[in-house]
Every structure is written in C-alpha cells, then in structure tokens.
C-alpha cells in the first residue's frame, strides 16, 4: 500500500490482511459472496453461528427494516456442526480467507461440543463464541447478560480448543465492562463488541409483531453510537485485550471511530447485504486515512481518542 502503510493486523495471533472482518451471519462462510467480493481483500470471515444439532430457525417474517437499521429474528438457523463441516469444510481448508467459526449453544456443554468439533477442522483460524443466546439452564437468560454464565462458557471453550477464542457480547446489559472482565478472566483471547440490540416492531394494520419471533436484533447504523460507547468503556477497563468493534460500520470513518475508541479490528455486518464491496472499500479507506495522517499501521489509531474531561461517564442520559 502507498506510503509504506500496511493494513496487516495481528488479532490474538491470527494474521489478517486487513482489520476489516465480515460479521457473523451476514456473509455466510464466504463461499456465496466470493462471486461478488475479492476475498483476498477481506481480513477474515466470521461464519454464521453453528450449533451441535441442526436448527430450523424461526418462522417468517424474519426481518424488518427500521430507520437506519433492521431487525432480524432468524433463530440461529444452521445445519448443525456436522452439516456445517460437510458444507463449508473444504472451502475453509482451501484457505482463501481466514475463517473464524462462530459457535453457539443452549448450554455450556453445547458450546463445548461445537468447540471441540470445530477445532479439528483444518484451516479454522479462530472461534467466536456467540454467547448472546438463551441459556436453557437459566430460564433462557442470555449467557452474555450474566457475567458468571458468560465466564463459564468462555472458560470451558478455551479449555477445549487450541484456537484463539473471542467472546461476543451484547450491549443489553447494565454493565458491559463486568461481563467483559469475566470473559477475559475466563481466558478469552479477545472480545467482539457488539451483537445486535434487542428490539421490536409492530404492524399497525395487523396488530402483529413484524417478526415471526416477536422480538429481534437491531443492527445497522442506528446502533453505531451504542457500539462505539461499549468499545470505549471496555477498552478503558481492559486496555490490553484485543477488541473487535461491531455495529453499524458502513465506511472508513465509522470503522476508524471504533479503532480510536479502542478496537484492534472491526466487523461489518448489515452493510454487506446492500453494499457487498464495503469491506474492501473500508479497508482501502483506512489505508488512505493512514497515508494522509502519516501513519503506517491501523494499530496506531487504536484507543487514540482524546478524552480530557473523563470520567464524565456514566453520563446524563436524561439530557
């Protein structure tokens, strides 16, 4: 790249061509999208979350557009870990792009199962534990909404694999720093912030929820400010831990916001749906920005946000 700039990024040991990754559930494993996107210019692909058994998912409608965002309620539809390996194994082994496998489960045990199986799969670069799903052993409370449960999952998964493990957290908690700390104590090699924000929309003509699953996850630019805040809070508390910033990233500037807030890399989700080329453009844009600022690596931006008046947080939500 121009001006001695390199976008190469080392994420907890994973070598990436760029710090811009595809977010889970928005890019498959890369196979389908390879026809539209040059995968060599993609940092890595985080797969759709995989569970031990096949999951059929929720009834339609599974999405609804909201202002500057969308709600989705897929219900983790996936072919199960065996079906996943059959479908995606060869592609992943091919090594065209680093693949981080997102794993999910209804119990600590299920996470462990998938982690073990996935770790044996050639070519897998890392594991992202999607702990933003309901825990059947705790009245369906979401793992990531409970620091202890989150720590249990991560502790078990890290013991089960040699691969770097990223804990993917939700912003729908009173204190995300507490959950983050618990995951790091349990051995997480990095944190992925954030998953979608729980929301709902209602059809005023039919009086029905616009989603078959009633509630769903809000994504897109609408949640960007929330995600930047979460990355900022966690990075302040855990400056050593690699963070992947996620939430409403659509262009280089929004990606750079996350790096300045403390992220080492970013994931692009919803934008892939309408702008499949955006990850490549964002990486190029970051490169151009670095050149313009006379910097040589994205890491020079990490956590560089200047905050004189701290701690102003927790701020006056109420105006």
């Amino acid at each position: 790249m121009a001006g001695g700039v390199s976008l190469k990024t080392n994420l907890s040991g994973i070598e990436l061509a760029t710090p811009v990754l595809a977010a889970s559930g928005t890019f498959g494993s890369g196979q389908e999208m390879s026809r539209l996107v040059d995968l060599r210019k993609v940092g890595a692909v985080v797969t759709k979350s995989v569970t031990p058994q096949p999951v059929r998912g929720l009834p339609t409608p599974r999405m609804v557009e909201t202002p500057s965002g969308m709600l989705n309620a897929i219900g983790l539809q996936n072919p199960g870990v065996e079906g996943f390996i059959e479908k995606e194994g060869p592609f992943i082994a091919g090594g065209g792009v680093p693949v981080i496998v997102s794993i999910a489960g209804k119990s600590v045990q299920e996470f462990a199962e998938v982690a073990v199986r996935v770790s044996k799969l050639p070519g897998v670069a890392g594991i992202e534990a999607n702990i933003s799903c309901p825990n059947v052993e705790r009245r369906n409370q979401v793992f990531a909404c409970d620091a202890q449960a989150a720590g249990e999952v991560i502790g078990t998964v890290t013991r089960m694999t040699h691969l770097p493990v990223f804990a993917k957290l939700t912003a729908d908690v009173t204190d995300i720093v507490e959950v983050a700390q618990s995951c790091v104590r349990a051995g997480a090699h990095g944190l992925s912030l954030i998953n979608t924000v729980l929301g709902m929309a209602i059809d005023v003509e039919t009086f029905r929820p616009r989603l078959g699953g009633t509630t769903g996850g809000l994504s897109g630019p609408a949640i960007r400010a929330v995600a930047v805040r979460c990355v900022f809070q966690v990075a302040r508390a855990l400056p050593e831990v690699p963070i992947i910033g996620i939430g409403g990233i659509t262009d280089a500037d929004s990606a750079i916001e996350f790096l300045l807030a403390g992220a080492s890399a970013v994931q692009v989700g919803t934008a892939n749906f309408y702008a499949p080329h955006s990850m490549v453009e964002i990486a190029e844009g970051i490169g151009a920005f670095l050149v313009r600022r006379g910097m040589s690596s994205p890491m020079e931006l990490r956590g560089r946000v200047v905050t004189p008046g701290l701690p102003a947080e927790p701020a006056y939500r109420g105006g």
Partner: protein, 298 residues
C-alpha cells in the same frame, strides 16, 4: 451473479406500473425467466436495503441487446424513489439472482398465471417456452384495469388468454383462480407456472395438486441480502424424500419452487384445503415438470 452500475436506457409508465430498462450486458446475458435483481437505494436514506425486482425482460440479441427491464408499482420509499429515476441515471444492480422457472423436457401445454406485478416475469418465460415449441396460454389478473400488466402482450404471446380483475373493470370479474379450472380444461394444460401474491400462489398450487398438475411458483419473502447469506427469506419446503421439511432460502433455492412442495399452511397460516401437508414423514410426491426435479434443491 454480477454487481453492475447500470445506466438507465429508458423509463415507461404502463397503467399503475413504472418500468425501467437498464444497460446491463453481463446480467442480461445470464438472466433466465423467474430470476430477479437487487437494486440498491441511494445513501443518506433511513432505509438501507436493496429492493428485489423480477426480471421482466432480458434481451441478449437484437436492438435491445444487453438490456434488462424491471416493472413495479410504487408501494413504499424504495419504489417511490425509483419512480424519480430518469434515463441516463445509474442504478447499482446485483443479479441475476435465484432459481429460474424450469422448462419442461417433453412437449407440454403450459398455462402461465400472473397476478399483479407477478405477471412481469411471465412474458419473458412465455417467449422462452414458445422458442422451445411449447404451447403457451395465460391468465393475467389484478385488482383493477390499471393494475393488469400488459394485457396486449399476453394476447400476443399465448394461444388462449383470460384477463381477470376483482372490480370487473377489465376482462372477467373475479380472481385468476376463478378462471383457472376453465382454462385448464380448454387448453389441455399439462403444467402450470404462477407468479403473484403468495395467497394466489397457494390457491393455484392447491388446485393443481388436486388436479395432479405440476406447478412451478415464484414466491415472495422479505429479503435482506438476496444472495443467500442472511437467511431472512426462507420458505418451508417439504423434502423430496419426504423425510421432513426445511426452511429454504427463496433467494437462492427459490424464488421458484415446485408448488406441491411448499408447505403453505406452515408458511401462510390458516388451514390448507383441500390437501394438508403434514410436517414429518410425509411423502412429497412431487409432480415433476420434466427435468424440473433435477434442478438445484427445492
């Protein structure tokens, strides 16, 4: 599948419809009837996602070579925005997408049933069928005359045509399904193709199942990506081996499915009459359209 910035060649009004003809050589070249394209909306809008539109026409040869036509009625922000598009503007288009209508191998008498904008892909299909020596008949319906899409074109392309409108402002008063039995008999229909509102597809599919007529229907579900990665666009489809059913992605396993394998009751609710499609262990005796069954999953 390609992503192209396509220049708008021309825009037309036909009754309630707007049509846009695009210069899109690669897409047009691959396009087959029943496939669709995803059109990007402009930046700085509060709505983000591409809008899917069936390919109404794709010209590979002749004066219109390399062009693609879509037709739509303004129903919301995306389609309203599209009505302001003018010749020489550029649209960001991804396509061709999805599983097209399969063609029958043995000689066949084909009845094409279109409701509302669902008629758009059927003329393209009719041409392809005729060029393969098939007999084509058509039923084109809509709420009213304004919304009947290209009645004249239907007459030009088919042996027999029935037009239906719910308000009787054109052709027979009623729904396309009212005209279905009569046409099937008159035309010795051997296979039915349908595109239109999902409840219409369901009625057509259920009637054809009763009559043991193969059907291919182009369904419509909300789509976020259009390319198979988001899993929002699924439809419950019975496995060919009857071992159960799956949510298949209508953007790549469809939008065209065999009407007898869509589990309508599960998808659209209510009770399926006359035939029920139970979920498990049900032998989905597929009514094949020649090699249709050999098409990709679904």
């Amino acid at each position: 599948m390609f992503r192209q910035k396509c220049e708008v060649l021309s825009v037309k009004r036909l009754g309630a419809y707007h049509s846009i003809t695009l210069v899109a050589p690669e897409i047009a070249d691959d396009a087959r009837p029943g496939q669709f394209v995803e059109v990007a909306v402009p930046p700085e809008r509060e709505f983000l996602l591409r809008r899917p539109f069936s390919i109404h026409q794709a010209s590979r040869k002749g004066g219109w070579a390399g062009t693609l036509e879509i037709a739509f009625v303004p129903v919301g922000p995306g389609t309203r925005w599209l009505t302001d598009i003018e010749a020489h503007d550029f649209l960001d288009v991804v396509g061709p997408l999805g599983r097209p209508f399969p063609y029958p191998t043995q000689p066949n008498s084909c009845l094409l049933v279109g409701g509302g904008y669902g008629a758009a892909p059927l003329y393209f299909l009719a041409q392809e069928l005729r060029s393969r020596g098939k007999r084509v008949d058509m039923i084109i319906g809509a709420r009213d005359q304004e919304r009947v899409f290209k009645a004249v074109e239907a007459k030009r392309l088919s042996v027999q045509v029935t037009i239906t409108t719910e308000d009787g402002s054109l052709g027979e008063r009623g729904k396309v399904t009212d005209a279905l039995p009569g046409m099937v008999t008159r035309c010795d229909t051997e296979v039915v193709y349908a595109c239109g509102p999902n409840p219409m597809l369901r009625a057509v599919a259920e009637y054809c199942a009763e009559q043991r007529l193969p059907t291919q229907v182009a369904v419509e579900e909300l789509m976020a990506c259009g390319v198979g990665v988001c899993w929002t666009c699924v439809v419950p489809v019975i496995r060919r081996d009857g071992s159960g059913w799956d949510y298949l992605r209508s953007c790549i396993d469809g939008p065209v499915f065999s009407g007898s394998r869509v589990w309508w009751e599960k998808w659209l609710g209510g009770r399926s009459a006359p035939i029920q499609t139970p979920p498990q262990g049900f032998q989905a005796e597929e009514l094949t359209v020649g090699r249709a069954a050999s098409w990709p999953a679904g």
